[in-house]
Symmetry: C2
């Protein structure tokens, strides 16, 4: 058996790896709440988590990648999307909640953090692959929610757009505006995106 | 006349402010080419530009905001979009070129840098406003190109979707995938987005 380099994604629940991850994530959240972003340095985080800075560097590589990892956990949906009895209503409610949660200073900060983590382009040959970046895992959370909504609707016999198409027509415009031009992100805007997405699936 | 705080956007061409900006931007590009991202520290950049680190901090606030500013300059289109004689062809060519240029390690890096700059949410009351962030200026570059294409098409008598709708249907999916799930970003994908965007404008 060959030794694998530790990554944020190779954790055994309950093992030391998982305990370190929990302690470091908690330290980031506590320090940020107490001192704001300026308090987030690797030495301060390591001290608060009771580990050495080199443990943090070995595992996450740099502060930006640790913050990306924490952001993705915070952006993880805490349950299946609400069931409103139909595809259109489910998607509208989901898009509205997504917008409400992310169109806040904290929500936009987590999105920016998620994008700022290590990318395989930066470190060719590193443990990070395109599908394990924090950004990709963040997108996978949204895709999983849309999949759940779609599976439920298909079970009711409704015609359902593909998840990839819903990412393009609903998630992408919301995230693009959250990151690049956050004015005008209203529930009405989110609903209009859902209407456009369903135009070919009446 | 009241004193204005210096910002990256309040530059008089040819003035000291513009010369400092040019020298610092050039230093970032040179250092990155010579030493990679690891060489990009404020002291090293300041030394290479012949200014003091405090000049850099006063003007940009932090390294991330300087890198965002440099990234937006690099992402600035170097001319009006090519004229292929019709809206559909112009948009398809533009979307294809946008994808080609940004779906590279450097292009994706600049996009991530642009998103990583100062945001008014982080520093309430600071000089940065929602519409002067690096991310917003980056989006404005795309909007200006789409506006030029639209004005040209309207002049030919073609029906033209609004720039806001083209941002949602063409730019947002491309940028979302570049940042979050960069697999499958092909010219065919870009063309399909343009076809979908024009479905109501045949």
């Amino acid at each position: 058996m060959t030794e694998r380099p530790p990554t944020p994604f190779a954790t055994r629940p309950g093992g030391r790896s998982a305990r370190v991850q929990q302690a470091v994530h908690r330290a980031v959240r506590d320090l940020e709440a107490a001192e704001g972003r300026a308090g987030l340095t690797v030495p301060a985080i390591a001290a608060a988590a009771g580990v050495t800075p080199s443990t943090v560097y070995r595992r996450w590589g740099d502060l930006a990648t640790l913050l990306a990892d924490v952001a993705v956990e915070r952006l993880r949906p805490d349950g299946p999307p609400a069931d409103h009895g139909g595809l259109r209503a489910d998607l509208a409610a989901w898009a509205e909640q997504f917008t409400e949660e992310l169109a806040t200073p904290a929500g936009r900060r987590y999105l920016r953090d998620a994008v700022g983590g290590a990318d395989p382009d930066d470190t060719p040959g590193a443990a990070t692959t395109p599908s394990t970046t924090a950004a990709h895992r963040c997108s996978d959370h949204a895709a999983a929610q849309l999949t759940a909504i779609g599976v439920r609707a298909a079970g009711r016999g409704e015609a359902v757009p593909s998840v990839e198409s819903l990412l393009d027509t609903v998630v992408a415009p919301l995230v693009y505006r959250l990151l690049f031009r956050p004015d005008g992100l209203t529930p009405a805007y989110a609903h209009a995106l859902v209407e456009a997405a369903l135009r070919d699936h009446p």
